[in-house]
């Protein structure tokens, strides 16, 4: 297996994400986060508890996975849906190169529309503790990448990647993650939380989850998700309307 990066696929991917209406959502989501952070700061002042609810409850749990979902499915799902991915696949290029190039586009989106806004929101909410903002930005980036790899795999496994992704976020990460303590071992958001508390220091987001495990598990999801997506693309079936 060799995986490189194709500038052409990255360029096409960027146009694919922003050439569609859902690309607008990528701009709206961070605006909501930063807007709410400004509102909380004005109304409550520099309050760690309010900051935690905004950054963790809204930012890390909602905005980051949604940005990852929109970016990843935007760069993969439409082409698979309408079959135009055959123009990428009918080329002497490693399928893993195609996946890596597409994930790079999604990663850029996560950086611009999730990680940077989290840093801004963190600084707005807790200007005196800039490390917390940095921690959230880093955690969002790493967690967002894991989400991208997961949603990329979903995109090549099912035609309903967006719906399945949303259900996963609501049921597993949201509902069950809040009810059952053990879910933290298998929750990207909680792994990102463990990384954030390690970087920021002094905040407790997830209990009983070591940073080493969180980093390792995140890395496994990113690498395994990307690799499996490539493997799946190698066996892509294209048939007509028959």
């Amino acid at each position: 297996m060799t995986a490189g990066l194709s500038g052409t696929i990255v360029r096409l991917g960027v146009r694919s994400v922003f050439g569609r209406r859902r690309g607008v959502l990528l701009f709206l989501l961070p605006l909501v986060l930063v807007g709410l952070a400004v509102l909380v700061r004005v109304l409550v002042g520099q309050d760690p508890s309010a900051a935690r609810h905004t950054l963790y409850g809204l930012g890390l749990s909602v905005i980051v996975p949604l940005v990852a979902l929109l970016a990843t499915t935007g760069v993969l799902a439409p082409e698979i849906d309408d079959g135009s991915i055959s123009y990428l696949l009918a080329k002497p290029i490693s399928r893993h190169t195609i996946v890596v190039s597409k994930l790079v586009v999604a990663a850029i989106c996560v950086l611009l529309f999730a990680a940077v806004p989290m840093l801004v929101a963190g600084l707005v909410l807790l200007l005196d503790e800039p490390l917390i903002g940095v921690g959230y930005a880093l955690g969002s980036l790493v967690g967002g990448l894991a989400y991208c790899a997961l949603f990329a795999l979903l995109s090549v496994l099912t035609r309903h990647a967006v719906v399945v992704g949303l259900i996963y976020l609501l049921i597993w990460e949201g509902l069950l993650g809040g009810l059952l303590d053990g879910v933290r071992w298998l929750s990207i958001t909680r792994w990102a939380g463990a990384i954030i508390q390690e970087v920021a220091g002094g905040v407790t987001l997830v209990e009983g989850l070591g940073p080493a495990y969180a980093v390792g598990a995140t890395a496994v999801v990113i690498l395994l998700g990307a690799w499996l997506t490539g493997q799946r693309l190698r066996a892509f079936n294209l048939t007509g309307d028959e």
């Binding site: 500038g7 360029r11 048939t239 007509g240």
Partner: protein, 304 residues
């Protein structure tokens, strides 16, 4: 010399058989893949272009497997049936991107040459979403020709083209075949196929029904027994007269009136029918072929 070889290939989807034990060799020149809709033509093209694994059997390009072998795309150009393209790009951007993905040394020049070949130079800077069906077909062609492949596979390429575009594409395919490329295109229209392809492969219901040059296929199709329903002023007399002629294989009087008739030699039958009727003073009220559909022609080929 580039050859695609299918050796005892079958492909099924769960319990539906799409392609059934097909062996064929597609060599240089233009080959037409002919069959009614749903016969398995697209499945065969997907197998030949590495986008489908055979359930059994092998598909190879000059001996190399096509499935999970992306290097074969250096030699293959594929024009899929589906119309979806990168609609947000201009025609030129799309073809240049294809050239870049092939790793060509000068993608811009290769794209220009390919676009000129399909006569799309004037519309190349328009966004693809504004293209007509025929223009989409041609820009798809340009994208598949940009690396000058030895093999060109086209799935129903004439669909949606106007007569002028159709003639131009036919000419283009003939030229490419004459250059020694291996060109295969699918169609469900015999006339379309025999205008371009010297070699025709007929598939019906997933099976390889016939193979040969278009003359042989055309004879097979026209020499089959033809069934008619005749209504005349004297059915019994007409039936007995016709039965005496060697061009007629069988005749049956229908209870609701009229004659059900099977002719074995259509050419002779069409000539003797009016003459015999006149000689015996019988008026022909109705002559209706009952199995003229393409499907029945194909069905005959399968049973032949």
């Amino acid at each position: 010399m580039t050859t695609i070889q299918l050796d005892r290939v079958s492909r099924w989807y769960r319990n539906v058989v799409a392609v059934n034990d097909v062996s064929m060799t597609i060599g240089p020149g233009v080959t037409g893949l002919l069959g009614p809709n749903g016969a398995g033509k697209s499945t065969l093209i997907a197998l030949m272009s590495g986008f489908l694994a055979p359930s059994t059997g092998t598909v190879t390009l000059d001996g190399d497997p096509l499935w999970r072998n992306e290097q074969v795309y250096r030699r293959i150009g594929l024009v899929p049936e589906r119309e979806a393209l990168f609609d947000y790009l201009t025609g030129r951007q799309f073809v240049v991107a294809n050239a870049e993905l092939h790793g060509l040394p000068d993608p811009g020049a290769a794209a220009q040459a390919s676009i000129a070949l399909v006569e799309m130079s004037d519309a190349q800077d328009r966004v693809i979403s504004t293209y007509s069906k025929g223009m989409r077909q041609r820009i798809k062609m340009a994208s598949s020709l940009v690396h000058e492949p030895a093999v060109l596979l086209l799935d129903e390429p004439f669909n949606g083209m106007d007569p002028r575009q159709r003639l131009h594409l036919m000419e283009l395919l003939r030229t490419m075949g004459a250059e020694g490329r291996t060109v295969l295109f699918s169609s469900h229209i015999l006339e379309e196929v025999e205008q371009v392809a010297r070699q025709i492969e007929v598939v019906v219901a997933g099976r390889h029904a016939a193979s040969g040059d278009f003359g042989a296929i055309r004879r097979l199709m026209t020499d089959r027994p033809n069934r008619f329903v005749l209504r005349t002023t004297d059915d019994r007399r007409m039936a007995s007269v016709l039965l005496a002629d060697p061009s007629v294989r069988g005749a049956r009087l229908r209870s609701e009136g009229g004659i059900e008739l099977e002719a074995s030699d259509f050419g002779r039958f069409s000539e003797v029918l009016p003459r015999l009727a006149r000689e015996h003073g019988v008026r022909l009220l109705e002559v209706t072929p009952t199995d003229e559909s393409l499907e029945s022609v194909f069905a005959y080929l399968v049973s032949a």
